[in-house]
């Protein structure tokens, strides 16, 4: 008996240590060095002018110019400093805090801006750029939240594209017909939910590969909306395809803060709802009973079933809800009073999917990734007006390249929900 009570003093076997993963650090390092190189190659006489104030601001800030080369080098060195710190943490098997990649990204983006605008006679309208970034990322945020809701419960939602498009179509038609943009906005989720319902019915009832259903549903929605656009909407554009724009609702006081005010608090109701949605889902998915059930169904449906959670019912509900969220994103797409055009979602659903994966199936991560894509879009349109040394095609490629790098280098083998895409049969 005493042999059991006295534990052996020396450890059994050699101590097993997890491998240190250097890939992320190396990728950060390469990006940082590239930024430094680009800055050093900027000719020293150039200046970059930034314009931060918008016309309606209370406090006017004059445009200011910075020497391009020095600013770029300082920012790159700061980014490289962060890389060094990350390397030090990695060597000690400690995780870098969440803000580090974000700070790094912001620094590199600033280097990019300084470099692109170096020697340009026009000032870079910073506020316009950031506002555009936020506006353009809204459909992507809703799209990736939709993907997140579906995938966390085990259904792969490739049909985000179709849900955005369907939502946009319904929002335009209803808003035009009633003359009230809010009615259109409220109806848009219905179209998305319908696509989500078809997706989940095929996935759960007929157990078809969910990626296939999603892709085909996208084609179907494109076909139906294109067809209705060419026939019904073209025949009667005044009544069916001229939606009023959603009014901008500046938040009192907050919207008067320079830069931050116009960028964050001078928007339509959809943007404010996006803030609420991201925050609410971040809490609900990880802290509520509903979220726990959703995640358990997506991770280990058999275990969930054993404790009495209805697996397929949970999946159907969450996918329909997810579809509705993406449909709302479709309303965001046309919030500026845009008329419907063929395939106006133009691949945003796929980008939203990428944003969700980049954000590692977390609402706040999805928000950050979607903002990155929105920023690239906004940068392209702003630089298209100002002129830039980089061809606009390359700027357009940038978010896609970043995604590939991120998926390959930084995110790597991220773990998707374990039961994703696998039908559950009792």
């Amino acid at each position: 008996m005493s042999a059991i009570l006295t534990a052996p003093a020396e450890p059994v076997g050699t101590l097993v240590e997890a491998r240190i993963h250097w890939r992320a650090t190396v990728v950060y390092g390469i990006v940082g060095l590239l930024a430094l190189l680009v800055s050093l190659l900027t000719s020293s006489g150039h200046e970059t002018t930034f314009m931060v104030a918008s016309r309606s601001d209370v406090a006017q800030i004059a445009p200011f110019a910075l020497p391009s080369r020095v600013t770029g080098v300082i920012l790159s060195l700061a980014a490289l400093g962060l890389v060094g710190w990350v390397a030090w943490l990695t060597a000690r098997r400690r995780k870098a805090p969440v803000w580090v990649p974000i700070a790094f990204g912001v620094l590199v983006l600033c280097v990019l801006l300084v470099w692109v605008m170096a020697g340009n006679r026009n000032a870079l309208p910073l506020t316009v750029l950031l506002t555009g970034a936020l506006t353009m990322s809204v459909p992507l945020v809703f799209g990736s939240l939709s993907g997140l809701l579906c995938e966390r419960s085990g259904i792969i939602n490739i049909a985000i594209e179709g849900q955005l498009l369907g939502g946009a179509f319904l929002a335009v038609v209803v808003a035009s017909a009633t003359g009230n943009p809010y009615v259109g906005m409220i109806m848009a989720p219905l179209a998305g939910a319908l696509v989500g319902l078809v997706l989940v019915m095929f996935a759960v009832r007929y157990r078809i590969d969910q990626i296939i259903v999603g892709v085909v549903l996208n084609v179907l929605v494109i076909g139906v909306t294109n067809y209705l656009f060419s026939t019904v909407l073209t025949a009667n554009p005044q009544n069916l395809n001229s939606p009023p724009r959603l009014p901008t609702l500046p938040i009192p006081v907050l919207s008067e803060i320079p830069v931050i005010g116009p960028v964050l608090f001078r928007h339509t109701i959809i943007v404010y709802l996006m803030y609420v949605a991201v925050a609410a889902l971040q809490v609900m998915v990880f802290r509520s009973r509903w979220g726990l059930r959703m995640r358990s169904v997506g991770e280990h449906p058999k275990a969930a079933d054993t404790v009495g959670i209805k697996v397929n019912r949970t999946r159907v509900r969450n996918t329909v809800f997810g579809g509705a969220v993406a449909g709302f994103g479709g309303a965001a797409l046309v919030a500026a009073g845009l008329a419907f055009t063929k395939e106006m979602s133009s691949g945003k659903g796929y980008i939203a999917l990428a944003a969700m994966i980049l954000g590692r199936w977390h609402p706040k991560g999805a928000l950050a990734a979607a903002l990155l894509f929105g920023f690239a879009d906004s940068l392209r349109s702003v630089l298209g007006n100002l002129g830039s040394p980089v061809p606009s095609e390359f700027l357009a490629m940038l978010p896609y390249l970043v995604t590939i790098f991120a998926v390959a280098g930084l995110v790597g083998r991220v773990r998707a929900p374990a039961a994703e895409g696998i039908p559950y049969v009792k």
Binding site: V213, V216, I357, Y400, I404, V407
Partner: protein, 410 residues
């Protein structure tokens, strides 16, 4: 369990069927019957849309309860007008004279060529368990490389074409290989990477069309015409656009059949698709297979791009790939990832592509209805149980009691 690519893997294998199916059951469950029924149902669904958007039908619907025949005759006219125009545009034009009567069917075969190539490429990927959405980009890169050779070199007739095709093949293979390599080395999800590569290739080609490499010189982003020596020779004389690329596509289908069914490499592809862990345990290099599958798929898709430019279009634009890459996904799915099925599906979709312009001009039915037909067909094919639930023959058979809708191989 059969490795049917359309049906997702289930955690539990289906229970073995207790009794031998009856003769009727076997006839009704034949997959060709499912496919024909799916096509029929898709046409019915689309005809509802066609009728609904027709102005005569809309006005007749206003008094449908007082004079129903008006409504039905208007609906019939709209549907018949659309589908007969589709038929005349895609298969046989009985209103034309002379050899022009058979021109539509050659047009169908011509438009099916890039779909066959790209569909075969995707089919290889699907059977290896890789969901490659990147045919669009691979087609475009192949088309760009083929165009570059076609407008730059002036070699003898056969050599120039062969060189252009090889360039397209390499470009497509390289473009797809990126996704395969990243999946093998870093585990990057091939769906995401191929989607991103599609967009990148679009902008890359758009950029190349503005530079000296592919630019014609004018303000429009369009390449010069490729040299005659680099085009696919026409098969049926100058009246028809059908070109040698069709024969090459058929040969490619035979090659893919041999590769997947008869070669060791194809066996490894299929093994990786059926069960990665088992394949790895059996000593196969799964990561290498990822790369090789994508390279094969990309090479075929790249050839499809070359066939489009060198056979049909003769010049390159950023929109050359059109929706070939995405149509090819549905082609491969409809063809159940088998070479023969893919060829037949490509010809069917080629017919829809070839026939739709006439439908638009003569019956005022927008081209976009074709997308609805395609998507509905593939959705139904993917869900044979649903087809059985919807189809009249199955219903009648079920009512006579010798057939059960639910029980048949779900």
């Amino acid at each position: 369990m059969t490795a049917d690519p359309l049906v997702a893997p289930t955690t539990n294998p289906p229970a073995a069927e207790a009794e031998r199916p009856s003769m009727l059951q076997r006839i009704l469950d034949a997959s060709w019957l499912t496919i024909i029924l799916a096509i029929a149902i898709a046409l019915i669904v689309s005809s509802v849309l066609i009728a609904a958007a027709d102005t005569d039908v809309q006005s007749a619907a206003g008094y449908v309860f007082t004079r129903p025949p008006d409504f039905f005759s208007a609906a019939w006219d709209a549907i018949y007008g659309a589908y007969s125009a589709l038929f005349r545009g895609a298969i046989y034009d009985y209103q034309a004279s002379g050899v022009r009567q058979i021109r539509p069917i050659t047009e169908t075969l011509t438009s099916s060529v890039p779909l066959i190539f790209a569909g075969l490429g995707l089919a290889v990927g699907f059977r290896a368990g890789l969901f490659n959405i990147g045919a669009q980009g691979q087609v475009l890169m192949g088309a760009a490389a083929g165009t570059y050779v076609g407008i730059t070199f002036d070699l003898p007739v056969g050599v120039n074409l062969a060189l252009a095709c090889i360039a397209a093949l390499i470009a497509g293979a390289f473009w797809a290989g990126i996704a395969g390599f990243l999946k093998a080395r870093t585990g990057a999800n091939e769906v995401i990477v191929t989607i991103m590569l599609n967009s990148i290739s679009f902008y890359l080609v758009a950029y190349l069309l503005t530079t000296s490499l592919l630019r014609q010189g004018g303000s429009r982003p369009i390449s010069p015409k490729v040299a005659d020596s680099a085009t696919f020779p026409l098969l049926l004389g100058t009246q028809f656009r059908l070109h040698l690329g069709f024969i090459v596509a058929l040969l490619a289908a035979v090659f893919v059949w041999w590769l997947m069914e008869r070669s060791t490499l194809g066996f490894q592809f299929r093994a990786v698709g059926a069960n990665q862990s088992a394949a790895r345990t059996a000593g196969m290099n799964v990561n290498l297979m990822f790369v090789l599958v994508m390279v094969t798929a990309g090479a075929l898709a790249g050839l499809g791009g070359a066939a489009q430019v060198l056979g049909t279009d003769k010049t390159l634009q950023a929109t050359t790939a059109g929706s070939i890459g995405f149509d090819a996904i549905t082609v491969a799915l409809l063809g159940r990832s088998r070479p023969l099925g893919t060829v037949l599906a490509a010809i069917l979709f080629g017919a829809l592509r070839a026939g739709s312009p006439l439908m638009q001009t003569s019956a005022n039915t927008p081209i976009d209805i074709v997308l609805v037909i395609q998507a509905t067909i593939v959705l139904l094919i993917a869900a044979p149980v649903l087809v059985r639930e919807l189809s009249v023959p199955h219903r009648i058979a079920a009512m006579t009691g010798r057939y059960s809708i639910k029980g048949a191989r779900a």
